[in-house]
């Protein structure tokens, strides 16, 4: 934030500061409201179908944020995120059945799922992160298929029977609520982590790698170490989400735990909202997952949903090529520039502070456009 205001003159600064603070307050207030709404959602809406949608959505919010934390920031588009998801699900599933864990303590196993996924991320990353761009994308797909096939073929993973939880965890009336809150905690934790990374030296190194890896290395960024760390963090979160998903669904099959659609969904969500931004993946998941769920119950023929998803995707690519948040911001800036040129005062306030709020708000979240 200081970089934006330091460029301006002193008189401008005195005028800008209250606006900056107001922008911050507005944003924090908005976040608080969102969090409160999220926290009371299952208490207000008790319909099991809608709480189930909400859990699914939270799972995808967390997963998209976790994807973004590596791929969005570093520019390495991974289509193998389901490797972590499935590893987490299988690990938690196998451990739960082995130790016969029941009740609320099951959630204590989630970090173990994350840990297993993080362990998998090390060799995965060491191999895949040596190559860039398209080759990286394809090698993540290849490793994804290897994992799915191993889940099919090994004896301890249960083959195509998968791993299921035979027990019903707690009473059916508000069955979804514990999952909802654990999902909410995971999602918030993922968002906080990605905010911390974005505003750290480590995050800047990732962005530098995205913009020009060779130059970043020339400037002293230890590219492999930075990339691998982010990859492992992303894997850890996704593994925990996979574990939560297993408890929620009650069964992991090779084709559902290692699901190519999961790979693509998280990427789509991040790109829809804006890959590399903080809020983009959240927004994308909040739009896309409920939409997909709604389509799934509205159209009995699943292929209508598939075609409409494809059409939506193409529309986003053609009309919002950088995602809703960055493209929307660009449009907003353009609109404001036009308005300022005409000298019209902004509605509901004096012109200078209104234009002042626009500068810092884009400055602090300019993740998509750092070049």
């Amino acid at each position: 934030m200081s970089t934006d205001t330091s460029a301006s003159t002193d008189t401008e600064r005195t005028r800008l500061l209250p606006a900056v603070q107001r922008g911050m307050l507005l944003r924090l207030g908005g976040l608080a409201v969102l969090l409160v709404v999220a926290a009371i959602y299952p208490l207000v809406i008790t319909n099991a179908l809608y709480t189930q949608f909400a859990v699914d959505t939270l799972i995808f919010v967390a997963a998209a944020v976790a994807w973004n934390l590596f791929s969005g920031f570093s520019g390495y588009i991974s289509l193998g995120q389901a490797v972590f998801f499935g590893t987490g699900a299988y690990t938690v599933g196998l451990l739960t059945n082995h130790w016969k864990v029941i009740g609320g303590t099951i959630f204590a196993l989630l970090p173990l799922g994350g840990l297993a996924a993080a362990v998998v991320a090390v060799p995965f990353g060491l191999i895949a992160l040596r190559v860039r761009r398209h080759t990286f994308v394809v090698i993540t797909i290849a490793i994804f298929f290897i994992f799915q096939l191993m889940a099919y073929n090994f004896a301890f993973t249960g083959g195509n029977q998968g791993v299921s939880s035979p027990f019903f965890l707690w009473n059916a009336a508000d069955y979804n609520n514990p999952f909802y809150y654990v999902g909410l905690i995971l999602a918030v934790a993922a968002i906080v982590l990605s905010w911390l990374i974005r505003h750290s030296r480590f995050g800047l190194q990732l962005l530098a790698i995205r913009d020009d890896e060779d130059r970043a290395r020339g400037l002293g960024v230890r590219a492999m170490r930075v990339k691998l760390t982010a990859f492992i963090l992303s894997g850890f979160i996704t593994g925990m989400i996979g574990g939560l998903w297993w408890f929620f669904i009650g069964q992991a099959l090779p084709e559902t735990a290692f699901d190519p659609n999961f790979d693509l969904s998280v990427v789509l969500m991040a790109f829809l909202g804006g890959a590399g931004t903080l809020a983009g993946p959240v927004l994308g998941a909040l739009i896309l997952e409920p939409l997909q769920q709604w389509e799934a119950i509205t159209f009995t023929n699943g292929f209508v949903a598939e075609v409409s998803l494809g059409v939506l995707l193409l529309a986003v690519i053609l009309f919002l090529p950088r995602g809703i948040i960055p493209t929307g911001k660009e449009l907003l800036m353009k609109w404001q520039a036009i308005r300022e040129r005409r000298g019209q005062p902004a509605p509901g306030g004096a012109a200078p502070p209104a234009s002042g709020t626009a500068v810092p708000s884009t400055g602090s979240q300019k993740t998509g456009s750092v070049r």
Binding site: G75, I77, V131, H134, T135, N153, E306, L313, L314
Partner: protein, 294 residues
């Protein structure tokens, strides 16, 4: 065992020839447009369904039907490039092109499901179920015809690339878009035609695959694209010869592992080889080292 192994090798090489044709189309598109066409797999399936419709409803011979399906797929390719690839610009072009072609793929898949359902179908003709006995097993004619046709087409593409003026413009565009533009090449036109050619080969690939692959449905596209991607990466992206060799090697390897070990592990070996090779040689077997800018 010996007989089965020979059969696996022969089948693998002949089947690999068809994959080589599809992979050459994909790698050509990559080389000229610098994008990966995720829809290539489903386009092969679309080509197979076109052949299916022509042979079932119009009773056209599979090979005669190609005279219709190849131009049709060429036009489909040009339409996709014009509508969805051409508008992509800027830094996000790579990832956006992946998503755009994926979107095209799921739309085609959905439409194919709506029309044909999820039942597996086969392309049929007299030469699909009969053939000579060699090395102690029966080899259907379609394998031989398909292999020869694929080889001829790959040779034709190779000739076009290295012996014609148009091929020179394609190779120039592959090497450097800006320089190609400077020497007066209409890069947009080259990109459009290349995408058309790269997709047109899926008509042939789809027909032979549909007649030899043990049935297909709209979902088969995923299987195909993941194999094709592995093949062109292994061969070195943008390398025609690399794609051919990798296709034949990988498909043969898969067939041999099928026999020697088990069908459920052959695909693991397939991708395992890819990962292993890339760990040693990141640019693929015959690939050039990537340029500096990411």
């Amino acid at each position: 065992m010996g007989r089965e192994l020979t059969e696996a090798i022969v089948d693998g090489i002949l089947g690999g020839g068809v994959y080589a044709l599809m992979a050459v189309g994909l790698t050509l598109i990559f080389g000229v447009l610098d994008i990966i066409n995720i829809a290539q797999g489903i386009l092969v399936v679309l080509g197979a369904y076109l052949s299916y419709v022509l042979s079932v409803h119009l009773h056209l011979d599979l090979f005669v039907g190609l005279l219709v399906t190849v131009p049709a797929m060429f036009l489909v390719g040009i339409a996709i490039q014009w509508a969805f690839i051409r508008p992509l610009r800027g830094r996000e072009r790579t990832s956006m092109s992946l998503l755009a072609t994926y979107a095209v793929a799921i739309i085609i898949e959905g439409v194919l499901y709506l029309i044909f359902g999820s039942n597996y179908v086969n392309l049929n003709a007299s030469y699909v179920t009969s053939g000579p006995k060699i090395f102690g097993f029966y080899l259907d004619y379609i394998y031989i015809y398909g292999f020869v046709l694929a080889l001829l087409l790959v040779a034709a593409i190779y000739y076009m690339l290295y012996r014609t003026q148009f091929g020179r413009t394609i190779r120039a565009t592959m090497q450097d878009h800006t320089a190609a533009r400077i020497v007066g090449i209409n890069v947009n036109r080259v990109q459009m035609l290349t995408f058309g050619i790269g997709v047109a080969v899926t008509a042939v690939g789809g027909m032979v695959f549909g007649a030899t692959g043990g049935g297909f449905n709209p979902n088969t596209g995923y299987d195909l694209i993941s194999r094709l991607l592995a093949i062109i990466i292994l061969g070195g992206m943008g390398s025609i010869v690399g794609a051919m060799l990798a296709a034949i090697f990988m498909i043969t390897l898969e067939a041999v592992v099928d026999v020697l070990w088990s069908p459920s592990w052959s695909v693991v070996v397939f991708y395992g080889v890819l990962v292993l090779v890339l760990a040693i040689r990141p640019q693929g077997v015959l690939g050039r080292k990537e340029a500096r800018a990411q």
